[in-house]
C-alpha cells in the first residue's frame, strides 16, 4: 500500500525556495566545471521530479555559459526490479531522449537519492538508448540507506534520515510550492 499523505506529518523543513535555488545554482556550476564546459553534456531528468530539476539546471547552465544543453526525460517504470512484488502495475509514461547520447556526458537528475534502485533502473534504461562516454548523477537530496553500490556526483544537500521518515521535495511545477520537508509516519500510521 502506498503511504497516504494524511498519514504523514511534517517533522522538519530543510530548504525553502531560496535554498533550493542556491543548491541548483551550485550544482550547475559544478557540472560545467567538472566537464570543462557544457559542450558534451546532456541532462536527463528522471520522472517525475527529476524533470523540472533538469529543466532548471539547463536554464542555469545557459545563464552561466550561454549555451542550451539538450534535455531528456526518462521514465524508469519498465525497468523497475519490483514489478513482480506490486499488485497493481504502476502507470507508464513516455520517455523522451531527443538527441543521440553516443559519446556524450549524460547527467541523470533526480530529486532524492535513497536506496539507489531508481538510479539502477535509469542506468539500464539509458544504456538502451546508446553508449554515453560517461554517466553522472545529480540529486537535490542524498538521504542515505543505499541498497546498491551507487553514489551521486553532484549533491544539493546530504540529509541523514531514519527509514521511517520520508523526504518530500515539493516543486512549483509538480506541487505548486517550493520546499524540502522531512515527513514522518504519524501515531495512527502503520509501522
Amino acid at each position: 500500500m502506498p503511504l497516504q499523505e494524511s498519514e504523514l506529518k511534517v517533522k522538519a523543513r530543510i530548504a525553502d525556495a531560496e535554498g533550493i535555488r542556491r543548491m541548483l545554482t551550485r550544482i550547475s556550476h559544478e557540472i560545467v566545471e567538472r566537464n570543462k564546459g557544457p559542450e558534451e553534456i546532456v541532462l536527463v531528468g528522471i520522472r517525475r521530479r527529476g524533470v523540472p530539476l533538469a529543466r532548471r539546471l539547463a536554464d542555469l547552465i545557459r545563464e552561466i555559459e550561454g549555451t542550451r544543453v539538450p534535455l531528456g526525460i526518462l521514465d524508469i517504470t519498465l525497468y523497475r526490479d519490483d514489478l513482480q512484488l506490486v499488485a497493481v502495475q504502476p502507470v507508464v509514461r513516455t520517455t523522451e531522449i531527443p538527441v543521440d547520447i553516443d559519446g556524450k556526458i549524460v547527467v541523470l537528475v533526480d530529486d532524492v537519492l535513497y536506496t539507489g534502485r531508481t538510479v539502477r533502473s535509469a542506468l539500464n534504461a539509458l544504456i538502451d538508448f546508446g553508449r554515453p562516454a560517461s554517466i553522472q548523477l545529480a540529486v537535490l537530496i542524498d538521504r542515505g540507506h543505499r541498497e546498491l553500490p551507487i553514489r551521486a556526483d553532484f549533491v544539493g544537500k546530504n540529509v541523514p534520515t531514519s527509514k521511517r521518515e520520508i523526504i518530500a521535495v515539493c516543486l512549483t511545477e509538480e506541487d505548486g510550492m517550493e520546499e524540502v520537508q522531512i515527513r514522518e509516519l504519524g501515531e495512527g500510521g502503520q509501522s
Binding site: M1, D75, T77, L78, Y79, L83, Q84, V86, A87, V88, Q89, V91, V92, R93, T94, T95, E96, N124, D128, F129, G130
Partner: protein, 318 residues
C-alpha cells in the same frame, strides 16, 4: 485494469480502463522507435499463443509484443497440435498451464471460447478474436490510431462499413468507441447487419454516401469470404457496386478523413484500389500501433492473477 485478470472484450471494459490502456500504449509506442526496442518488464513470464484460426497479423503482433517485453512465447497452431487428435480446448489449456504459463492469448472460431478458458485457468487470458463476438485488441488499436491522428475520441464521427454481423472487429470498435464518446454509424447490406445493432448505441444505414457524410474516420471491414456460406450476398461484384469505398464516395467525408482497414484487404471489393493507396489511409500505422497496444495490455494484466489479488486484500484487511 486494476483488478482484471483477463481481457475478453471491450463490452465489459470501463471508460477508465480503456483510457488507461490507450495512455499506456502511448508510452510503449515510444519504445518501438528506440534503437533497442526491448524492455525487461516481463522477464521470466511465459505467454502461450493459441491460434485455432489462421492469422498472420495478429499472431505476429502478439508475438512481437511479447518479445519486446522480454517474455518467453510459446506458439501453437491448431493444425500441428494435439487438437487434431481430438483433445478438448480445456484439456489443452490446462496442460499448457501445468507448464507454468502466465498468459494465454487465444484466437478461436467459437464465440465465448476465451471466456470458457478464463474460468478454468489461473493464467491471464487475452482474447485475440473469438468467432463473431469480439477482437478487443483490434478495437483498442483502432481507437489508439484514431486518437493519435485526431487527438481525441470524444465527439468524433466514425463510419464502420461492411459485414457487421460476422465482424468481431466491428463489435469491439462499437463497444469501445461509443464508451469513449464517439458517434458511430454502421453501414452494410441488411443481410449482414445484426438485427439489434441500434441497441449498441449506433445508427445504421444501407446507403454508403449517407454513412460517409462528414465523417472523421472510415473503418472498412473485410468481406469475410470464408464466412459467406449462407448466400447472404448475391455476389462480391454487387457488394462492391453498392458498398465498396471508392475515392468518389469518400468526397462526402471530412477532407482529412482517416481511412482504416483491419486487413487483409480485398482490393476492388470492400476497398477500391485508389483508396487502398490513398495517402490518408493509416492501414500500416494500425499494424505498428497494434504492437504497442498489445504490449500495454500484457503489461497492465501482469501480476493481476487471483492469488496476488487475494494477497493484496489480506494486506489491506490486516
Amino acid at each position: 485494469m486494476n483488478n482484471r485478470k483477463d481481457l475478453l472484450g471491450l463490452e465489459e471494459a470501463t471508460v477508465e480502463e480503456l483510457g488507461a490502456i490507450l495512455d499506456t500504449a502511448e508510452a510503449f509506442r515510444g519504445v518501438l522507435d528506440r534503437p533497442i526496442k526491448k524492455v525487461p518488464t516481463l522477464r521470466g513470464k511465459t505467454v502461450a499463443n493459441l491460434f485455432y484460426e489462421p492469422s498472420t497479423r495478429t499472431r505476429f503482433s502478439f508475438e512481437l509484443a511479447e518479445k519486446r517485453l522480454s517474455a518467453d512465447s510459446l506458439n501453437f497452431s491448431a493444425s500441428t497440435s494435439s487438437a487434431v487428435k481430438g483433445e478438448s480446448l480445456k484439456d489443452t489449456v490446462r496442460n499448457i498451464e501445468a507448464m507454468g504459463v502466465d498468459f494465454v492469448v487465444i484466437r478461436h472460431g467459437a464465440s465465448g471460447a476465451p471466456h470458457h478458458i478464463a474460468k478454468n485457468v489461473r493464467a491471464s487470458v487475452i482474447n485475440a478474436g473469438d468467432g463473431q463476438h469480439e477482437h478487443p485488441t483490434q478495437g483498442l488499436l483502432d481507437m489508439f490510431t484514431m486518437r493519435r491522428k485526431l487527438g481525441r475520441l470524444q465527439g468524433i464521427k466514425v463510419a464502420i462499413i461492411g459485414d457487421i454481423a460476422h465482424s468481431r472487429v466491428a463489435r469491439s470498435n462499437i463497444w469501445g468507441l461509443t464508451k469513449m464518446g464517439a458517434e458511430v454509424r454502421v453501414c452494410g447490406p441488411s443481410t449482414l447487419t445484426p438485427m439489434d445493432v441500434e441497441k449498441m448505441g449506433v445508427t445504421w444505414t444501407w446507403r454508403v454516401e449517407e454513412a460517409l457524410e462528414g465523417v472523421d474516420v472510415v473503418n472498412i471491414l473485410r468481406i469475410q469470404k470464408e464466412r459467406q456460406s449462407a448466400n447472404l450476398l448475391p455476389s462480391l461484384r454487387e457488394y462492391s457496386l453498392y458498398f465498396g469505398v471508392t475515392r468518389e464516395r469518400l468526397r462526402r467525408a471530412s477532407p482529412d478523413v482517416v481511412i482504416m482497414h483491419p486487413g487483409p484487404m480485398n482490393r476492388g471489393v470492400e476497398i477500391a484500389q485508389d483508396v487502398a493507396e490513398d495517402p490518408r489511409n493509416v492501414i500500416l500505422d494500425q499494424v505498428t500501433n497494434g504492437v504497442a497496444v498489445r504490449m500495454a495490455v500484457l503489461y497492465l494484466l501482469n501480476g493481476n492473477e487471483p492469488a496476488s489479488r487475494e494477497a493484496e486484500m489480506a494486506t489491506v484487511e490486516g
